[in-house]
């Protein structure tokens, strides 16, 4: 297992280089001039602009610029500064915390609601409950986050507060602590909950048809034990993969949700930095996101081996 982990981490190196280079090129190819963006509506003095260009290596070839950047990250842990001389690592630090809180809230909701509903549907297959759960997942899958976000913000965040007087789901940024994340977390998790519900339902239904379930019944075990121990333990395996891989999606997909709910997270920052052509910030954020994605996948693969004894990595 140890060797496997090391091999996987080594494999992550080219992925990391590739992803950062790709992002670097894309940001470089964006139309517009970062120096002009720094001055807003005013036109910069050409001489000053030239000095700035030199200072930020903007006149050097693309690959050289990339090398300056990536060597700083690798050898000094220095993600550089943005065009206002604020270190990128400082910009990211607080923002990643917000996004991580949001993504983890979403992940927990996904696991609890998605798996819960899926199990419920699987055990009531073909009955009214099952049909209703399936129909509502279809609704969540087909309505975009943009719509669910604004609708829930209005209904549960604003109207509910007006009607009841109690601020159950605060929607004004992160001022209310962990409760600030409840509604945005749910909106972010929405489609994933729906997919996970369907995946859980299929997975358990399939598992319950397996021969070893028949054996467990023939052993004289209660239905509760047959499903709860023998069925669930096997049905969970594909769900863990989905959940782990989804953590990356949730963090990357937080842009819309953070904008709707005014959460100062990484998504919001990414959006602004792309807008301002702040290459170092964009690449920095994406690099960390790629890293998180790779680590999440590694953890999933290891969990997989833990859950399914038939899988051994060597």
């Amino acid at each position: 297992m140890g060797r496997y982990v090391i091999r996987r981490l080594i494999q992550a190196i080219p992925v990391l280089f590739g992803a950062t280079l790709l992002i670097f090129c894309i940001v470089f190819a964006l139309p517009g001039d970062p120096i002009a963006a720094m001055f807003g509506d005013k036109r910069p003095d050409p001489a000053i602009a030239e000095v700035l260009r030199e200072q930020y290596h903007l006149n050097d070839p693309l690959l050289l610029q990339y090398w300056y950047y990536i060597s700083g990250v690798l050898f000094q842990g220095d993600f550089g500064v943005n065009f206002a001389d604020v270190p990128v690592s400082q910009i990211m630090a607080g923002k990643f915390q917000v996004t991580l809180n949001l993504a983890l809230t979403a992940l927990v909701m996904e696991a609890v609601i998605g798996v819960g509903l899926g199990l419920w549907a699987a055990l009531r297959r073909g009955k009214a409950t099952d049909t209703m759960i399936l129909a509502s997942t279809l609704l969540f899958i087909s309505v975009p986050t943009l719509v669910t976000g604004f609708v829930l913000q209005l209904l549960l965040g604003v109207k509910l507060k007006q009607w009841t007087g109690a601020d159950i789901f605060p929607v004004a940024g992160t001022f209310a602590g962990w409760r600030s994340y409840l509604l945005p977390g749910f909106v972010l998790a929405g489609t994933s909950i729906a997919y996970l519900t369907r995946l859980t339902r299929t997975s358990l239904a399939e598992t319950l048809r397996a021969d070893y379930i028949r054996t467990a019944t023939a052993k004289g075990l209660s239905r509760r034990r047959v499903i709860g121990r023998h069925g669930l333990r096997n049905a969970l395996i594909p769900l863990v993969t989905f959940l782990g891989a989804d953590l990356g999606n949730l963090m990357g997909g937080a842009v819309i949700t953070e904008t709707i709910f005014n959460l100062q997270g990484i998504g919001n920052q990414l959006f602004q930095s792309v807008y301002l052509r702040e290459q170092p910030v964009v690449v920095g954020i994406v690099t960390v996101l790629v890293l998180i994605y790779i680590l999440a996948n590694l953890v999933v693969d290891m969990l997989y081996a833990l859950l399914d004894p038939r899988i051994r990595y060597e």
Binding site: A210, D211, Y212, R214, T215, A216, T217, A218, K219, G220, L221, S222, R225, H230, R233, N234, I237, L307, D308, P309, R310
Partner: protein, 348 residues
């Protein structure tokens, strides 16, 4: 206190004399499956009995209803789609079909146990074999983990799995096919059941291992005097171990008899066909005999005798009249209008 099966089945004393009742009696059992395409009549009036220490071989091709009957005895049919419109399954005189689900659960695994064809898929892949065997003791006998594991090692020794003490922590996929089937057997005999149903226990194994598994089953049966129902489509397996044979076709028993009688001379054309389709060394080079035609469509069974479309002895009344189970001798029955001709070997 945990309920034992004796509490739930007051009529059933532990290991006591069965009195007038046979150990297990299946009586005129019918099983149907409600499907979209129509009603599948999988079992149509099957009756057989098994006594202590007795081995009944239930013989028949796929779809003959032999496994469905066994699953009905165990109570592991999915109902729905399965329904049991008629019949009784009596265990020491108690009709199991009339018991509550709770009482039924107490019989399953403890008094009547079952082993399945493919042990790899029948064992749970994510638990160690020790966990799976000891689960019987933990759940039904309230034993601790450690005690249950000790019992599991004893059982694995008893079914002759080498190095049981180490292997108890292994997972099913780490065993060979024969060893896996031994684990399946160990698990099924854990609580000393009075009846063991073996559903094609050797089909997935190679021939030498088949013989070892059959030998093991026979030996365990001698030690414990349990009744054994051996479901198979392999006549070769049956000859050595069975006391009596019930041959099934299209959900009915077409012939039942002591094993020697059947091999001496079948009293039903289907049994005869089965015996003749065994490859024989003295007929090497000849074409293998096969029963003509296809197995019946259970959705739309032939009129009269279900075997008539494939039968070399067919007469006009076979198409219209279903034959009753004729008494050939005191211990032998045949569901053929012309059993005498078949028995005399008059081929038509």
């Amino acid at each position: 206190m945990k309920k034992t099966s004796a509490d739930v089945l007051p009529g059933l004393s532990e290991g006591g004399a069965p009195g007038d009742h046979p150990l297990l009696a299946v009586d005129n059992l019918h099983v149907e499956f409600q499907t979209r395409a129509g009603v599948v009549r999988a079992v149509n009036g099957v009756s057989y009995t098994v006594g202590p220490g007795e081995t009944l071989a239930v013989l028949g091709e796929s779809g003959s209803g032999k496994s469905v009957t066994a699953q009905a005895i165990m109570g592991i049919l999915d109902m729905p789609p399965a329904v049991i419109p008629k019949g009784e399954i009596r265990f020491k005189g108690t009709n199991l079909l009339k018991l509550s689900e709770e009482a039924r659960t107490q019989v399953r695994g403890q008094r009547i146990a079952m082993i399945f064809q493919d042990a790899l898929s029948a064992l749970n892949p994510v638990f160690t074999v020790g966990w799976q065997i000891s689960e019987m003791f933990r759940v039904h006998r309230g034993m601790s983990k450690a005690d249950g594991l000790k019992k599991a090692i004893e059982l694995m020794d008893r079914v002759r799995i080498p190095a049981a003490r180490q292997r108890v922590h292994d997972y099913p996929h780490q065993f060979s096919g024969g060893m896996r089937q031994r684990i399946m057997i160990a698990m099924s005999i854990a609580l000393d059941p009075e009846v063991l149903i073996a559903d094609e226990p050797t089909t997935a194994l190679d021939v030498t291992v088949q013989a070892q598994i059959m030998e093991l089953l026979a030996e365990l049966q001698r030690e414990s005097r349990m009744g054994l129902i051996l479901i198979t489509h392999d006549l070769g397996v049956v000859a050595d171990v069975a006391d009596k044979i019930a041959v099934m076709y299209a959900g009915r028993i077409v012939e039942n008899a002591p094993v020697h009688d059947i091999y001496k001379g079948p009293a039903h054309p289907y049994t005869k066909g089965l015996l003749e389709s065994i490859p024989r060394v003295d007929l090497k080079g000849h074409e293998l005999y096969a029963i003509k035609g296809l197995p019946p469509n259970l959705l739309d069974l032939p009129t009269g005798c279900a075997f008539h479309p494939r039968c070399p002895y067919r007469q006009d009344n076979c198409v219209t009249d279903a034959p009753p189970l004729h008494e050939v001798s005191g211990t032998r029955n045949s569901a053929c209008h012309y059993w005498r001709e078949v028995l005399d070997g008059e081929h038509q």
